[in-house]
Amino acid sequence: MRVTNNMILRNSSYNINGTKSSVQTAMNQMTTQKKIEKPSDDPVVAIRSLRLSTSISRVDQYYEKNIPDAESWLEVTETALTNMKSLMNDVRTQCVNGSTDTLNQEDRNTILKQLKALQTQLFSEGNSDYAGRTVFTGYRTDKDLVYTSDESTTSYTIDQNFSYEDIESFRYYTGSVAIPNTADEVLNNDIADISEADYSRLRLSYDKIDAMSSFSYTTKDAQGATTTATVDLTAATDVTGNNADGSTFTYQTATATDETGAAITDADGNARTMYVFDSEEDWETAFGGKTVSDNDIVLIKENGNIVLGNSVTSELKTNKSTISTTYDRTGFYEGELKPEYYFNCTNTTDAANPVKYKKYNEDGSEVGYDINYIVANNQELTVNLEASDAFNSDIQRDIDDMITAVSNAISAHDKIDTLTAMKSEAQYSSEEYQTKLNEWIEAAQKEADYADDHLQKLYSSEIGKVDSYLDNINLAITDVGCTCDQLSLTKTRMSNQQETLEELQSENDNLDLSEIIINYTAQYNAYQSSLTAAGKLSGMTLLNYI
């Protein structure tokens, strides 16, 4: 073939261009250390790189954000629970103190003071927050668990359910010594006779309730069929009672009906009746003593006690019944738990816009407000612990009972002290007064003895309860601990995974520097030699020789 100078030039320029583009590719690889510049260079590498980046960004989120976040959250929870445990231990100490039978007035005062302080402190730990988010309140992280100040206008309608196992026996005392103020009263006033009665009761989680709208109990038989008896308290009849001083009070009565609306009666044909009293005093006055007939139920609004007649009790226990109540309460106090964390309830403070809360489903199962963090692929971790899982709302009512018991004991002993002091007063120095005052002192002593007895018995039974509450808290602490352990395992795993993925991506995307340099050098040499070759072509033709 005929070869012309231009062909040679054209060819060498084509070749130089080829080597130059290889040098450019190698140069690019050297400066970026990446295998490819654009997806079409190697789609497999490109697509794998996309997948790996997505995985890495996910693992980064787990490892660098979610896990540390969960750790801090759990730490706050654990600290709060530990604090709560030590407060609960303090309550237990007071129970132990109160259950000893050698208490003097000072001891009782100390117990009272301590308990009152503990009552407000106990749940303040429940408001613990992590970065402004309350940890024990489920999804309501922007709300407190307990009231931080008294809210006198806040009102709720609360649905509280009990099981027959919640029925406990409790001692009620009729009569109390009213200290005579004048000589005349010393002689002429009746000296109250104190008597003790033991009844079964259900205790509402709140005292000082406004009203109860319904009380019902459901029994499930062996076949699974249920029968429900209801007391519709909205249709209760008002009854007026007379106090000894001539003033009057009102209480309500209503009867229980079955599903068909028929009244439930005992063997004698008496309808099962529920009485609603404002206070224990009204109950005592109305019935001439704190008594409840076998077929009756008494509700004391002041302390939220539902006292059950004996046959009612045995019926509920035998049938393993569940009991439902609905009641209203207005005014909540500092340190009290907000009802929404324990019960289905409605906040009716703004009557026009009631806010409903749900804690239990229709079938009685608990609605979980679990905050789940994704801490690894397909692995979710519940970081939050709901208040109802760690501490029982009964604790406060137990402390209430304990406070009432200790203050009753204090006041009973005060009465003895007052009467004993009266005895040494000049105006009561006569035999008649002395005898009468001794009778008074005897009565007061009886009251004090009952009070001491109640105090001691109550406190020793409370030790058991507090222990079970402590168990709950300990269990919760253990749970949190386990979650922490699980999290730290996941954390190690994620750290490894992050490293592995990054390594994989680097392997996929990046070139080994030594490889690039060798490659670059080879390409550059090829370029150099093509240039050298082209340089030699220049100029010399036959024309130069003629």
Binding site: Y14, S40, L50, D69, T141, T541, L543, Y545
Partner: protein, 620 residues
């Protein structure tokens, strides 16, 4: 006896011939770097012998310069031109494919490009995961919404870039067509000049080179075939007139007919062919007849075809169907090729081809089955149909726009639209079951902006009820507020969502479950990869699908560009091997002809001496 002065004439002819040869050599050397220049040679022949009434009969009369012709083999020209159009096709496609590829490349791949789809998409879900852990915080929801906004912006930008590219290709088409016209005009003029020269018996070497150069240029734009026929005297069929008849055809259609030439012109489309096309795309017609010139027809190649394929390529996914009924102003088709609203890519007013006739519609309505699939389209025509036309189109295949079987800009636009529609629909339908932080029912988060009116389409005419999952209606039209309105250009975050509290993390519930409830976020998180959204995969595979599409074409273009470039180089080498000027050869020619000249001069001086001897010395 031989003529006394005859030798002078012979020697003179030698001088002349050498002079002409030296001149031609000089011309060759001067044009050694001229593009398209073919080496010229002087054709010499022994001059006609003179009859001498002698024993030896006749005597040579010296040398004659017959012609100066170029050394050129049209066989290589033809091969070169064939190759050029294929090379032009792939080179041009590669150029544009690399740009498209560049728009989609994700920053994680190389260090120098910005964040791409995959990065933005996984950022969205990372932000969503943060909302899951802290649903009550408006800052985390705000973060999520701004990531969602980024996703929209990404698609808006990508669409904008593709449309800009479409527009610049469109401009380039116009320039290219102007170029084709100017080439055809020049060729026609050259044909005339060449014939004028050659009918006189000359050789229009330079003009022929120029003409071949023009065809070189033209063949890269469109497939070009050239025919040159000698014109014989019509009365004496064996008599060659010296003239040639030169025709140039592009893709089989006559462009230059000897002295006459046709021109092409660009006509702006009245109606868009694909939904996301820009306005005013050009179609090409023959200026004279207004007949259409189809640059994407079968056997088409060249840069023009590449530009049209990139500009109009919809991978043949434009709507087709069979006409089942028509009235004076509507045409209804069934068995449509597109049954999913997410994949619809027909413009809201456009062009219908049926029975080889072009009709236009100004809106359409669709009928859907219980699953929301489209079973028929009815087009509202701009001009009424006659009854004959109605009968004629019955049962005929109907095509919307143009079927261009290449994955070009409309294809990628439609892929983005399809992805966005199914993603936004899934996202919105989850959101719509919830309530925002203020307890108000949640609407669409992703909406389509009506740029002209500044209003939002929130897709409330959705075909399927988001709450029940059942089909809501059986018809919708091009004006309905449906996901058809959502495109990569129009996707946006609802204005209402500029308030981060207007975002639902929780289903509507009659109870107050707290600010951190996140059940909807759990569902939204499924969208990242678990919900089937795009081409049978999760949302995160979108870019992977696009990568593989682009890669297939780009790699094909790369490979073929390399192949055809090397073929082109080879052919060009062969061509140059024949017609190229070689300096050494020319130098040899110089020596050769100088020598010949010297010898001829020598003859003259010898003859001069002879005359001197004869006239002055002899017999005086």
């Amino acid at each position: 006896m031989a003529s006394s002065f005859f030798g002078l004439t012979i020697a003179y002819s030698g001088l002349n011939a050498s002079q002409a040869s030296i001149n031609t050599t000089a011309n060759n050397i001067s044009n050694v770097q001229t593009d398209g220049y073919s080496k010229q040679t002087v054709n010499l022949s022994a001059a006609s012998a003179l009859r001498a009434y002698q024993r030896y009969g006749s005597t040579g009369t010296g040398v004659a310069v017959d012609s100066v012709t170029q050394v050129r083999d049209t066989y290589y020209d033809e091969k070169y031109w064939n190759n050029q159009s294929t090379l032009g096709l792939y080179e041009k496609k590669l150029y544009y494919m690399e740009q498209i590829q560049n728009y989609f490349t994700d920053g994680t791949l190389t260090t120098n490009s910005g964040a791409g789809f995959s990065t933005i998409y996984s950022n969205l879900f990372t932000a969503m995961d943060s909302v899951k852990t802290n649903a009550g915080s408006s800052s985390s929801r705000n973060e999520l919404l701004s990531k969602a906004q980024e996703l929209c912006t990404y698609f808006n930008n990508a669409a904008q870039q593709l449309q800009d590219l479409q527009s610049s290709i469109n401009d380039e088409i116009k320039t290219t067509i102007d170029n084709v016209n100017s080439i055809s005009k020049k060729i026609a003029m050259l044909n005339k000049q060449i014939n004028i020269i050659e009918m006189e018996g000359g050789h229009a070497n330079e003009l022929r080179d120029t003409r071949a150069n023009l065809v070189d240029e033209l063949s890269k734009i469109v497939p070009t075939t050239v025919e040159e026929k000698e014109v014989k005297n019509s009365n004496f069929s064996d008599q060659y007139t010296g003239a040639t008849y030169y025709t140039v055809k592009i893709n089989g259609q006559l462009l230059v007919d000897n002295y006459e030439y046709n021109t092409l012109s660009c006509v702006s489309r009245e109606y868009k062919y694909n939904q996301s096309d820009i306005e005013g795309l050009y179609d090409i017609v023959w200026t004279e007849t207004q007949a259409s010139f189809d640059p994407t027809a079968t056997n088409m190649s060249g840069e023009l075809c590449a530009m049209f394929e990139i500009r109009d390529g919809n991978n043949g996914e434009n709507l087709t169907g069979r006409v089942t009924s028509s009235s004076s102003n509507t045409i209804t088709i069934t068995n449509p090729s597109t049954t999913d609203i997410d994949e619809m890519n027909l413009p809201d007013e456009g062009t219908i081809w049926v029975n080889n006739t072009e009709y236009h519609y100004e809106g359409f309505s669709c009928e859907t089955d219980e699953n929301g699939n489209i079973i028929s389209y009815t087009f509202n025509l701009t001009k009424p149909l006659t009854t004959d036309e109605q009968a004629g189109i019955q049962n005929k295949k109907l095509v919307i726009g143009d079927t261009v079987d290449f994955m070009g800009i409309p294809y990628y636009m439609n892929q983005m639209n399809t992805f966005l529609r199914s993603f936004c629909e899934a996202f919105n339908s989850i959101e719509q079951t919830g309530v925002d932080a203020d307890g108000n029912a949640m609407g669409s988060v992703f909406v389509a902006m009506n740029k002209a009116l500044g209003t939002e389409y929130d897709m409330t005419d959705a075909l399927v009820d988001t709450l029940t999952g059942t089909a809501k209606g059986t018809t919708f039209s091009s004006d309905s507020n449906t996901y058809y309105k959502m495109t990569a250009t129009s996707a946006a975050i609802a204005d209402a969502c500029s308030d981060p509290d207007h975002f639902a993390t929780h289903v509507a519930s009659e109870t107050d479950d707290g600010v951190d409830a996140y059940d909807l976020i759990d569902k939204l998180l499924q969208l990242q990869s678990k919900t089937e959204l795009f081409r049978g995969g999760g949302g995160d595979t979108f870019l992977q699908c696009i990568y593989s599409d682009i890669t297939v074409d780009t790699q094909e273009c790369e490979i073929f560009t390399t192949n055809y470039t090397s073929i082109s180089t080879t052919i060009d080498n062969q061509r140059m091997s024949i017609s190229g000027v070689d300096e050494d050869e020319e130098a040899l020619d110089l020596i050769k002809f100088q020598n010949a000249y010297n010898l001829a001069s020598k003859c003259i001086s010898v003859l001069a001496e002879m005359y001197d001897q004869l006239i002055l010395q002899t017999g005086v």
